[in-house]
């Protein structure tokens, strides 16, 4: 894994197929430069080479995820603006970044999400699971796994449809309104309503989880009906929250003309 032992400074990623071996020091110095100034052409070429070295590990992980009958969208290399933003935002070294390569799977609901996460751990034993459902990151909820292939990290994101809808919206708002919104900052009227939406999705999914857990015996038929009614209520309130977000965005657009 980059940045956590295993690399002595040379012969990095021996299986990567790269003609030039990159040293850890070389990459971390690149990270320092990217953090402090716009990238030069040489730095963009070096960053590209570094990211490409994740290719073989990425292909193994995506292949194994596909074997689970899933349809991941792969992102073999994190984009330059995303790498630079992360370097600026965090104290992390470039070789420590765990999400240079990765893929995303979107599943219908939280029960399926659990099942997929378990299957992935079975396929990649010992892989740590970061459950951002119980511990959201500024409202972002999902399950992430960082698989290690010969010491190279590849991130697998598993999101439910609702978690995904929230994440896409939050990302887009960060693009066109304020990039700090993803990290708990930005305009209050957007930040707060995104938090409300994230909490509402969490409640909705908790109810759904309970519903799936019910057995269909006589005793629980009535209970099941109640859960279904509650879920329908939550769905309506979530739709109302969406309307609020839209209206707040339109308000911002009128006032500041920043929303595109």
């Amino acid at each position: 894994m980059p940045g956590r032992g295993g690399m002595s400074g040379q012969a990095r990623f021996p299986d990567s197929g790269l003609s030039v071996k990159l040293s850890r020091t070389q990459i971390d110095r690149l990270g320092d430069r990217l953090r402090s100034a716009p990238p030069s052409e040489d730095d963009l070429v070096l960053l590209d080479e570094f990211r490409r070295s994740f290719g073989p590990a990425y292909e193994i992980v995506v292949g194994r995820v596909q074997e689970l009958k899933l349809a991941p969208t792969g992102r073999p290399a994190k984009s330059t603006p995303s790498v630079i933003e992360k370097l600026k935002r965090e104290t992390i070294r470039l070789t420590q970044m765990q999400d240079i390569a990765g893929c995303r799977v979107v599943v219908p609901d939280i029960v399926e999400q659990d099942r997929i996460a378990d299957s992935l751990v079975a396929v990649f034993p010992g892989t740590p699971v970061t459950d951002r459902r119980s511990n959201p990151s500024y409202g972002y909820r999902a399950v992430h796994l960082v698989v290690q292939i010969s010491g190279i990290p590849v991130e697998v994101q598993v999101r439910t449809l609702l978690q995904h809808a929230w994440a896409e919206l939050s990302e887009k708002i960060a693009d066109v309104v304020d990039s700090s919104i993803k990290y708990g900052q930005g305009p209050d009227q957007i930040k707060e309503v995104l938090k409300v939406a994230s909490d509402a999705i969490a409640e909705f999914e908790a109810l759904e989880y309970n519903l799936y857990g019910l057995k269909l015996d006589d005793k629980e038929v009535e209970l099941k009906q109640k859960w279904i009614e509650k879920i329908e209520e939550r769905k309506k309130s979530l739709a109302a929250i969406c309307d609020r977000i839209k209206s707040n965005l339109e308000e911002l657009k009128k006032r500041d003309q920043v929303v595109r």
Partner: protein
């Protein structure tokens, strides 16, 4: 399929998308870097990224931000319609 995406984050706008077969991975990677270098020369700060999906529809489901505007993404039907 492999998709090369040029996205203007600030404008929230997809500038260009090109598709490649998996066999053309190297060509896609090469073009990604060339595009990035060229834009960098002109001081254009766009996101140039390669994504891999079964087809464009699958890509549009998992990476909607590149294809939809913010109001579309906030639409109640978009968010809860399929639940």
């Amino acid at each position: 399929m492999i998709f090369l995406i040029e996205y203007d984050r600030h404008a929230g706008r997809l500038v260009e998308i090109k598709s490649f077969s998996k066999a053309d991975r190297r060509a896609a990677e090469k073009l990604r870097l060339q595009t990035e270098l060229q834009l960098n020369r002109y001081g254009v700060n766009h996101e140039i990224v390669l994504l891999e999906a079964a087809n464009k529809e699958a890509l549009q489901r998992t990476h909607r931000r590149y294809f939809e505007n913010v109001l579309e993404l906030a639409d109640r039907e978009t968010v809860v319609g399929n639940r």
